[in-house]
Symmetry: C2
């Protein structure tokens, strides 16, 4: 039986594991960024940290819609295990798209996106359980 | 009971309905572009046709990975019902991301993307049944 690490690395392309939950009682949407895999496929300069930036788009009004994890040195599986939450109605949430960017800070101090996934929240139901899935990350050099 | 049209328009944001199928016997991946909804939210110049462009990314080698529907005048629900297919192994497909762009041709003849969805194919199983879902389209003005 292959380990989770072996299984992930056999995929070949970079992936991000994301858990989504909407709790209708509290009108609260939370995103759990668990981990990244196959970071070596990200074309990252040596010794650079990476982090995950998430945006709940379109972003309207004054509510916060942009979140960043701490930065970490890329491993074969890079753990984050950070949770981000926002207040939002289910109807509003169903019109949103979660944009997940893997970023690093370039030597001139600018935020640079290495790869991204985009998750439509049209189908997100209300549940006490978090739905956790792996999503392929598309390298920006391919877009 | 609201009609499908009423239900779609109540969502407010533009959406695309896509059906995905992978047939392991033929190693064939097919994408069905059914329809678009809420095209009025796309900020399209008056009297312009729209069409859907799809790319199976990353695109490697010589295999075809870019497909376009015919162009149509945007309606509240714009029907396409076009199917596109490619030969690919399931392992290769699971590393791909389907990029779905709603485009129009600008007055200077260039292809312009109005809105897009990105669908990770990491979880796509093999089945005789097509999995059809609505995906939110993210306007390029929000990206």
């Amino acid at each position: 039986v292959p380990s989770e690490l072996e299984e992930r690395l056999s995929v070949g392309c970079p992936q991000v594991q994301i858990g989504l939950k909407f709790e209708s009682r509290d009108q609260r949407f939370t995103v759990l960024v668990t981990q990244l895999s196959n970071c070596s496929a990200l074309c990252l300069p040596h010794d650079h940290n990476i982090y995950v930036r998430m945006a709940v788009l379109p972003c309207v009004g004054t509510s916060r819609c942009l979140f960043r994890t701490r930065a970490a040195l890329p491993q074969e599986l890079t753990d984050f295990n950070e949770v981000f939450g926002m207040q939002i109605s289910q109807n509003a949430l169903r019109q949103k798209t979660l944009r997940v960017d893997v970023c690093h800070t370039s030597t001139n101090g600018r935020e640079k996106v290495l790869a991204a996934a985009q998750i439509s929240l049209a189908d997100l139901g209300s549940s006490e359980e978090r739905t956790t899935k792996w999503y392929n990350l598309l390298s920006h050099s391919f877009e």
